[in-house]
């Protein structure tokens, strides 16, 4: 049962807090993590389309599997500059 570090930004940080550890089932994907978060915070649904994921500082798909100690980042659309 891997433990991952979740980090969220902007609107998602406001909904989820900026960082915390989450325990997932063996073989869980980044998408599974997202689904678990949506169950906890249904308002996430409206951000599903705009949110990208990163695993250990690299963008990844929802299908990417998570490993013990991974940092999974939730990235809403960017606004820098």
């Amino acid at each position: 049962m891997p433990v991952v570090r979740l980090v969220a930004f902007a609107r998602l940080r406001e909904l989820l807090g900026d960082r915390r550890d989450i325990v997932l089932a063996d073989g869980a994907s980044v998408g599974d993590l997202w689904e678990a978060l949506v169950r906890e915070e249904p308002r996430l649904t409206e951000f599903a389309r705009g949110t990208r994921f990163a695993r250990n500082n690299r963008l990844c798909s929802a299908e990417a599997l998570v490993c013990e100690g991974d940092e999974i980042a939730l990235l809403p659309p960017f606004g820098g500059g």
Binding site: F9, A10, L59, P77, G80
Partner: protein, 144 residues
């Protein structure tokens, strides 16, 4: 050649000094500055920026790598500030130095456009009426 996320005021002159070399004949500095009116005309009190700092720094270095691939003589630096900023303060500085001005202009323009599209940085506009809105760059939602 600085690629950084900072919490304090950006020292543009120090960044310029870091990229300048005896080979350089032109240096272009772009600063993004907090302005008083939002695009919809509302009066802004200030901005709040946040970043995934590790990924943002990596994205700055990737942008510089791309610039080097087509313009190997360009020397580039990118610094973005996070936290609370007031009107007139510099949120981002992109500095490009090159032997000739055409490349310095092209590199600076490319770098700021690329940063807006692909660097994981977020901006909240805080209006004088108390409302706060996270503002998205156009194009930033596309997958890379």
């Amino acid at each position: 050649m600085i690629f950084d996320i900072v919490r304090e005021a950006i020292d543009v002159r120090a960044i310029e000094a870091s990229v300048l070399a005896p080979s350089c004949g032109g240096i272009v500095s772009f600063c993004g500055v907090v302005r008083k009116r939002a695009d919809d005309g509302r009066e802004v009190e200030g901005l709040h920026y946040e970043a995934h700092e590790g990924m943002a720094r990596a994205s700055f270095m990737a942008i510089a790598e791309e610039v080097r691939a087509t313009m190997p003589e360009v020397r580039l630096a990118i610094v973005h500030r996070v936290g609370a900023l007031s009107i007139g303060e510099v949120a981002v500085a992109v500095v490009a130095a090159a032997p000739h001005r055409a490349e310095a202009f092209a590199a600076a323009r490319f770098a700021i456009d690329a940063l807006k599209e692909r660097s994981p940085i977020w901006k909240q506009e805080r209006y004088c009426d108390g409302e706060r809105v996270w503002v998205e760059n156009r194009c930033s939602g596309e997958r890379q």
